[in-house]
């Protein structure tokens, strides 16, 4: 097995008496995508938010390997965690509104990430933003239009461009195609797959949709009531689910 980029041990998050996730262990390596499957309320988004730094965990350990050095994420200060979000950890939200400023242009949204990383040359910022938009297939003619005027699928493409702008080590995708029409979602999925393949980023793909996970991730875990109930290769999970809940999930997906 390849060296991990992200490693979770015993991640637990409680909200008062409610346990959102418990004793979650997982590893993901560079160039690899790990799927987290589960229905809403299963705790998969909580796991993602703890890794992203949006939620403080109740207990557990998360390590991120950056430039050969293992950072213990949960020991970092809020300031250091936010700094990681500039160019090391990127999140793609289900709703582009959470990841974009709709009043700003597509280029401006990408420029935010670039200027945060210290870019101060207008021409180079423009060139990089154009390059990224081309990569996600947003017409360059729309580069200077406010993202609020974009369709849902196009907003999601801009969000992806922004997320990969600084070549992050870890990409967290939270239901990246859930809000989109089937045909638009298929296009965005294709795009995500090629981005993951080209960039060599380590990624976590959270989805309730077996189809999305099977398309993006070679390995997956199934979460149920806050715990990982099954883990394995995505194809095997789909063909031969062991845990009763996984079987039910696969059956439900087949309709």
């Amino acid at each position: 097995m390849r060296d991990w980029t992200l490693r979770l041990n015993g991640l637990t998050k409680r909200f008062g008496a409610v346990t959102a996730c418990e004793e979650v262990d997982l590893e993901v390596a560079a160039g690899e995508a790990l799927g987290i499957i589960g229905e809403s309320g299963s705790g998969k988004s909580t796991v993602l938010r703890c890794i992203a730094g949006d939620l403080p965990p109740t207990s557990g350990k998360a390590q991120l390997r950056v430039a050969g050095e293992a950072l213990r994420l949960f020991d970092l200060s809020p300031t250091e965690r936010r700094r990681l979000r500039v160019s090391t950890i990127s999140v793609v939200h289900q709703d582009p509104v959470d990841g974009l400023d709709l009043r700003l242009s597509a280029g401006g949204n990408i420029a935010e990430r670039l200027t945060a990383a210290g870019w101060r040359h207008f021409g180079r910022i423009r060139a990089r933003a154009a390059e990224l938009l081309e990569q996600v297939e947003v017409p360059l003619g729309r580069m200077d239009d406010p993202v609020g005027t974009f369709s849902g699928g196009m907003r999601q493409r801009v969000q992806l461009a922004k997320a990969v702008a600084n070549d992050p080590a870890l990409l967290l995708l939270d239901e990246p195609t859930t809000g989109l029409d089937a045909s638009v979602a298929a296009g965005v999925l294709d795009l995500i797959r090629s981005l993951l393949e080209e960039s060599g980023v380590a990624s976590l793909v959270v989805s309730h949709d077996m189809g999305v996970v099977s398309m993006l991730a070679s390995r997956a875990v199934v979460m149920h009531h806050g715990r990982i109930v099954e883990a394995g290769l995505t194809d095997q999970l789909l063909e031969d689910p062991h845990h009763a809940y996984s079987q039910w999930l696969v059956a439900a997906a087949r309709g």
Binding site: T79, R82, R83, V86, L104, S105, G107, G108, A111, E112, R113, T115, A116, R120, H121, F122, G123, R124, I125, D144
Partner: protein
């Protein structure tokens, strides 16, 4: 009631002790000086202070007035300008208030003043070490346009997270081809804090960079003071490939003194321009050599 009687009664009201100077009591002055010392120690950082009710409305220079009254001493000579003009109604009122309540001398000559309180301008004369420039500030928060939440603003300053400020400049250039901000241009002070330069024109912004004098900024309504100590870097925020430019109207010259390189304001009824710094302009017309020299140095 005569004017003199009225001002005497203000002095009596303001100071219980006969040796107290000016409208503010000693404790208030100490509090403001305390905030100012913090401001000088952390250049560009906005320090909260207990802004007092002043005999001028908030928004009419109450912040600058409190700063001036907190630092003024019996040896000081005070100059007050509004848009470069000593005789503006607001400037004249503030000057009279300062002079009559403190008894300090006042002048219109930027060279001999020790404290220059100003709204929207920095005098044309090169200020020298030891002089204090007090700027009246309406909006001290440079990031107000990109964020409204106070806690988030504090976080952005604390972490030096100015990406959204840069994005607003980026969007400006995309939409207009240039950075359109003309007054209150954002600057980076001492390489650390982004600061609003009050509504001074861009023309005056370079005067703050590595300046030999002390600049104190007072925002009465917003209850903040901040400072640029002498010899501190003040860099206008701009992209590496888009140099910062000051306002200039090609061919414009002062109708009164003929200056081309001073900061000029338009006089539509005379279809021309005049110097915004009225005292400097008057000295030039009287043939003051020093004013000429500064002007020629700029021409060259």
């Amino acid at each position: 009631m005569s004017h003199a009687t009225w001002t005497t009664s203000v002095v009596e009201l303001a100071s219980g002790e006969p040796d107290e100077l000016g409208h503010l009591d000693e404790q208030s002055k100490r509090d403001i000086r305390h905030a100012l010392l913090t401001a000088v120690a952390v250049p560009g950082y906005q320090v909260p202070f207990a802004s007092k009710e002043m005999p001028v409305a908030r928004g009419w220079g109450s912040g600058g007035l409190q700063v001036t009254l907190a630092v003024v001493g019996t040896e000081d000579v005070v100059k007050v300008i509004d848009q470069g003009d000593d005789d503006g109604v607001n400037a004249a009122n503030l000057r009279r208030l300062i002079a009559t309540t403190t008894g300090t001398a006042h002048t219109t000559d930027a060279r001999t003043a020790t404290i220059i309180q100003t709204r929207h301008r920095i005098p044309e004369d090169r200020l020298r070490p030891g002089q204090i420039l007090v700027l009246q500030v309406p909006v001290p928060e440079p990031l107000r346009g990109v964020e409204r939440d106070m806690r988030e603003l504090c976080r952005m300053h604390a972490e030096g997270d100015y990406a959204r400020m840069w994005v607003s400049l980026y969007e400006d250039v995309v939409r207009h081809g240039v950075i359109t901000r003309t007054t209150g241009y954002p600057v980076l002070v001492g390489g650390r804090y982004v600061m609003a330069t009050t509504p001074i024109p861009r023309f005056d912004v370079p005067k703050l960079h590595e300046a030999p004098f002390l600049s104190l900024f007072g925002a009465g309504r917003e209850k903040r003071v901040y400072a640029v100590p002498p010899h501190t870097s003040v860099e206008p925020l701009t992209f590496e490939d888009l140099p910062f430019e000051v306002e200039r109207t090609p061919g414009a010259a002062c109708l009164l003194c003929g200056a081309k390189e001073s900061y000029l304001v338009e006089v539509p009824e005379r279809d021309g321009w005049i110097c915004s710094d009225t005292a400097w302009c008057a000295r030039r017309r009287d043939g003051d050599e020093e004013a000429e020299l500064v002007s020629e140095a700029r021409d060259a």
